[in-house]
């Protein structure tokens, strides 16, 4: 039972100070969660703290590999619109 931070993390530091288990640490190229320490915040908070403040959709996964903040859930930008915009920008 542990969460995982993946490469889309932007190292914004928001999650690190909030973790009740000190499971999150600064690493390169991105922050990491020590799986042995992560409790998914059980017993401390009703929501996993890292996933509740992380501004990046898809950066934190649960044990099953599913994004706690799936695409579109935080920004409200539909994933298709985002993809379109990225193509437009790269084509410049």
């Amino acid at each position: 039972m542990a969460l995982k931070i993946i490469e889309s993390c932007v190292n914004c530091w928001a999650c690190e100070p909030l973790c009740p288990s000190q499971a999150i640490f600064e690493a390169h190229p991105h922050f990491l969660i020590d799986a042995r320490k992560c409790t998914e915040c059980e017993g401390d908070f009703s929501d996993p703290q890292c996933a509740s403040i992380c501004p990046i959709e898809g950066a934190i996964l649960d044990a099953a590999g599913l994004a706690l903040n799936p695409p579109g859930s935080l920004t409200g930008i539909p994933p298709s619109r985002l993809a379109e915009a990225m193509v437009e920008i790269q084509a410049r």
Partner: protein
């Protein structure tokens, strides 16, 4: 904001407040403030428009974490060529930040203010922010400290803030209505939960207003920053201006939204546009009826160093400051001397421009309606025209009218990217500058090359290098008078003059 009556204020008043225009707006705006408050802002480049010609500031990026999300922010972005809030090149530990501040203060004696403004929210990182403040209060007592916050954690941090060498706090308040807020803030992190939409926005607004009141009760000056987002909060900002003034804020700074798709922000990606120069000025003028407005904000990088509009950050990277030997006691002595010289110079300029305004007013043909004229000025600071046209990365824009000369804003030449080959920008730097100067009829600089001279003239902007090293307002007044005498200003006024607030 009141218009000053010309000819009655030819001498600086004894209290040391600025009797003459001091860049138009600022002195008028601050004139309503009690003396002890004016003393506080007197040498703060971000609070006093006049001071920003003379004094420098720096920001340190020690507070990366943020407890809310704004639709105009992307915490991922870092570009060394870009100057806008939230952008930094290196994140500092409090220890490194203190070292950097001492190094900069010793090398740029005009520096008076250290600010912590993100990326992230300083008060969402209380340990790092206050560790920096504590050390500086002790080691550099002559430097004022300053924070800029989104306000969510403000009420709980007010007591701690008041313990430090802080005169002012900036709160970014974009709305006072949760309905509007929900369009700007998708979520906040509050009481260990993510709260989305209107509910989140309501809590944020309540915290901001509560924090504002708590600060003003304790005698700390509060400046309110608002981001002007066309179609989202443009109309609403007039209400914001009223509300924050009623709660004791002393200055309102309405800034234009920056939203390029390549910044990857929500607004950028969704195609939300930023305001035009005219829209921004119109709104600033409308809010000015209720509130002192700040117009010289440069939307600096969160690690900017130096005079407003310049960035000397590259001189003070971590490896460079490691090598510097700083004797801060000696530096403090030197700073004192430099500041005294600046004040003497300001005083002299004040007297001078006081004189020129009297003559300006008396020479104006009283009966004819003269239209106001926008002029752009290239300066590196000091309140004088001292920059080569081609070196200017920004221009200060002044409006001259038969009543006075006032500062109305600045325009950056390289706000997003310097263009050129690397960015595939087809527009040349000169064309871009000319476009950015749109609406200005004169550009004052210390020197200008032959080629841009011709192109500027063609675009209807008169280049003028005759007033190099002269005080800005005086030169603007002289040029305006010359235009009046040459009969260039007697066309019927198409738009109402802005100087009506």
């Amino acid at each position: 904001m009141e218009l000053k009556v010309l000819g009655q204020e030819s001498l600086p008043n004894a209290a040391g407040g600025c009797a003459s225009s001091g860049c138009g707006g600022s002195t008028d705006q601050l004139a309503h403030l009690p003396e002890h408050i004016r003393a506080k802002v007197h040498n703060h480049p971000c609070y006093s428009e006049e001071a920003h010609h003379h004094y420098a500031r720096m920001h340190v990026a020690v507070a990366p974490a943020c407890n809310i999300q704004c639709h105009y922010c992307n915490r991922k972005y870092d570009c060394a060529n870009e100057s806008r809030p939230g952008v930094v090149s290196e994140l500092l530990t409090p220890e490194h930040a203190v070292k950097k501040v001492l190094a900069v203060a010793a090398n740029i004696p005009q520096m008076t203010v250290l600010g912590i403004a993100g990326p992230g929210d300083p008060l969402a990182n209380p340990e790092r922010t206050f560790a920096t403040f504590r050390a500086l209060t002790e080691q550099a007592p002559d430097i004022k400290l300053c924070v800029s916050t989104n306000g969510l954690a403000l009420p709980e941090q007010v007591e701690e803030l008041c313990k430090h060498n802080i005169d002012h706090v900036t709160i970014t308040i974009n709305c006072v209505d949760p309905e509007v807020g929900a369009k700007i803030y998708p979520w906040i992190f509050w009481n260990n939960r993510r709260i989305k939409g209107r509910r989140g926005a309501r809590i944020l607004i309540e915290q901001q207003q509560k924090g504002l009141e708590m600060l003003t009760e304790r005698g700390i000056l509060v400046k309110v920053n608002s981001v002007l987002i066309p179609g989202v909060n443009d109309e609403h900002l007039k209400e914001v201006s009223k509300v924050v003034k009623a709660r004791g804020a002393f200055l309102h700074n309405v800034m234009p939204l920056i939203a390029e798709a390549e910044h990857g922000t929500f607004y950028g990606v969704m195609g939300q546009r930023g305001p035009t120069h005219d829209e921004l000025q119109a709104l600033q003028d409308e809010c000015a009826g209720d509130m002192a407005m700040m117009r010289h904000c440069r939307q600096c990088r969160a690690d900017a160093v130096g005079m407003l509009g310049e960035d000397r950050g590259a001189e003070f990277t971590l490896d460079r400051i490691e090598e510097m030997e700083i004797d801060y006691a000696a530096a403090m002595e030197q700073r004192k001397a430099v500041h005294a010289a600046i004040e003497a110079n300001r005083e002299a300029q004040r007297r001078k421009s006081g004189e020129s305004f009297v003559s300006l007013a008396s020479l104006m043909p009283k009966k004819k309606e003269l239209r106001p004229v926008l002029m752009a000025v290239a300066t590196t600071g000091g309140g004088v025209i001292n920059q080569h046209f081609g070196h200017a990365r920004e221009f200060l824009v002044y409006e001259a009218s038969a009543q006075d000369v006032r500062f109305i804003g600045h325009r950056k030449v390289d706000l997003y990217c310097s263009g050129g080959d690397t960015c595939g920008d087809a527009e040349t730097a000169l064309q871009k500058t000319i476009r950015i100067l749109g609406g200005c009829e004169v550009v004052l600089c210390s020197k200008i090359g032959y080629e841009p001279w011709g192109e500027l003239e063609e675009a209807g902007i008169a280049p003028n290098g005759e007033h190099a090293m002269e005080p800005i307002e005086e030169a603007v007044a002289i040029v305006y008078r010359e235009m009046a005498e040459a009969g260039l200003l007697e066309r019927p006024v198409e738009q109402p003059t802005r100087a009506s607030a």
